[in-house]
Each structure stands twice: as structure tokens, then as C-alpha cells.
Symmetry: C2
Subunit: 163 residues, 2 copies
């Protein structure tokens, strides 16, 4: 049995189980959550969210790239999202490495968005969201750091400031 | 209580529940799954996967963009992924629209990767993966279309061919 066969079989079990699914496309809590593709993260569970409440965006590192801005413009303008949360995490494959090392190792001559320092990366990413013209409808953004061992998140950056 | 307060409270419940979490970063099934940010999709559940088994990448549409290639280079070279699945879905916000309409509606002058036709979009995205030089370690890729109403997936494109 190939990996693809296993996945199709897994889907047959999912369909048979007839799990309740949300019907509406707009996220009920008007929320978009960006996080890392890391296999250990259960994005909705970590923040006590349910299916149907948020858009979930994931890439290497949970970084605000051009593609994330593309997706969020759709979230905000087409599907009514008003709060954006960026959740990066400890023990990330993009931390403690550099573009030079990753280029040497992979042969790909691209910007990998490595994370030299979690606090700075989250602050930079929140700044990038806030300064993006097409996202001016957004009411609030926050940058969280997830401790991959304990599951606890720490608030590292937010906009607007205050409490 | 602000939305951020609610999320932090949700995280406290998650930490208290002490849910078992995988410890290792490399996905156990050496799999990466790209899908849409859509709030109705539970990516692992749809394919019968568990936490710790796959990288999960999500953006608007589940399209193979430059940022997805960046992330997958890390998946493949750093974390041992060998199979890549692209899962797009019916009732997608990027289907039945155009770049022109989205630019007018959002004010963002970018490529939104709209989906004119699901079969073509999946085939194009699989082709883009297969022709990406740095992904030559990959053994297999598949393009699936998820029916958002029934939860069933249909195999639309795959590489290599055959069965």
C-alpha cells in the first residue's frame, strides 16, 4: 500500500465517521492565525479555538511573507477577518540557522526567513502586518511565542499597544 | 474581555489539560500537506492523520507559491519529508473570481493565485512542485480536491504516474 493509498483510506474513514463540520466560510471569531508548519503544533487547540472560528495560515517559521500578506488580504477584505495572531515557537527549525547555512545545505538560493531572535522576528512580523496598506481594516494583531514543551504561549508583541 | 484575552485564556485551558504532544520535529510519515486556510477544513482529520505525522502548510487556496516552495525546501532537506500532498477544495473563496476583481475589491495590486478551474490549478501546482530543482528528493506528490460538503477527497493529479 502506497502512502497515497493510506491517505485515501484515511479519508474514507473520515467520511464514514460523518464528523460535524461548519458550513460557513467566514471565520466566526473574525480571526486569522498564522503559525509554523511544525508537526508538533495543533494550532486551534493551543488557543482554545474550534473549527469554523479562524483562518489558519502555516508556513516555515510562521513568518509574515508576501504570500501571507496575499492570503490575509483575502481574509480581511473577502471574509471579514479583523484580528490577526502570529504564533511562532521554540525549537523551530528556522531558529539558530542562517540564510547562508540553509543555502549551502539545500542548494536553493532564496530568502529562508530564518529566525535569529524570536522577540525581534515577532516584532518585525507584526510591524510588517501593521504597515501593510491593504490590511488597514484590521483592528488588532498580536505576536505570540509558543513553548513547544509546555504548550504555553507568551505575548511578545501587539498592536495597538496598551491593554 | 478582548479577543486577545480570550485566546490567552484558551491557552491556559490547553496547558492545564496537559494533552499529550509529539516531541520530535521530523514528521513521522515524512509527509507535507498543503491546503487552504479555509476555516471549515481540519487538514489532518480529513486524511486520517495524527499530530506528529506531517508538516501542514496553509495559505489562501492551498496554492504552490514561492513561499510554499521555501517552506517545502526546509521540509525536504532539513526534516526528511519525501511525499507532498496538495489539497484544494470546493467552495473556495479563490475560485470563481479573478485577479482583476480581487484587485478592485481589495486595492492590493498583487497576484492572488485565483482558481479558474480546480483540475487545472491542481495540475499546475503539482507540475510546479515537480519542476522545482531543490525538491528533487521528493518521491511522490498528489493533488486532491476536497468536497467541502461531504468531506470526501478526489485524486486529481499525481506524480509519478501509474499506480
Amino acid at each position: 500500500m502506497t502512502e497515497l493509498d493510506r491517505l485515501l483510506e484515511g479519508n474514507q474513514r473520515y467520511v464514514s465517521a460523518d464528523t460535524p463540520r461548519p458550513k460557513d466560510a467566514p471565520p466566526r471569531r473574525r480571526l486569522a492565525l498564522l503559525t509554523c508548519m511544525d508537526t508538533r503544533i495543533d494550532p486551534l487547540a493551543v488557543l482554545g479555538l474550534g473549527l469554523g472560528e479562524a483562518h489558519v495560515l502555516r508556513n516555515a517559521g510562521g513568518r509574515v511573507t508576501g504570500d501571507v500578506l496575499r492570503s490575509l488580504v483575502v481574509s480581511v477584505h473577502v471574509l471579514g477577518v479583523r484580528t490577526i495572531v502570529v504564533m511562532q515557537h521554540t525549537q523551530c527549525g528556522l531558529a539558530r540557522t542562517t540564510d547562508e547555512e540553509l543555502r549551502r545545505r539545500t542548494g536553493a538560493d532564496i530568502d529562508f526567513y530564518p529566525i535569529g531572535d524570536h522577540i525581534k522576528a515577532l516584532q518585525d512580523d507584526i510591524d510588517r502586518l501593521v504597515s501593510s496598506g491593504p490590511l488597514h481594516f484590521v483592528h488588532a494583531t498580536a505576536g505570540l511565542l509558543l513553548d513547544i514543551e509546555t504548550g504555553a504561549v507568551r505575548l511578545v508583541a501587539k498592536w495597538p499597544g496598551g491593554h
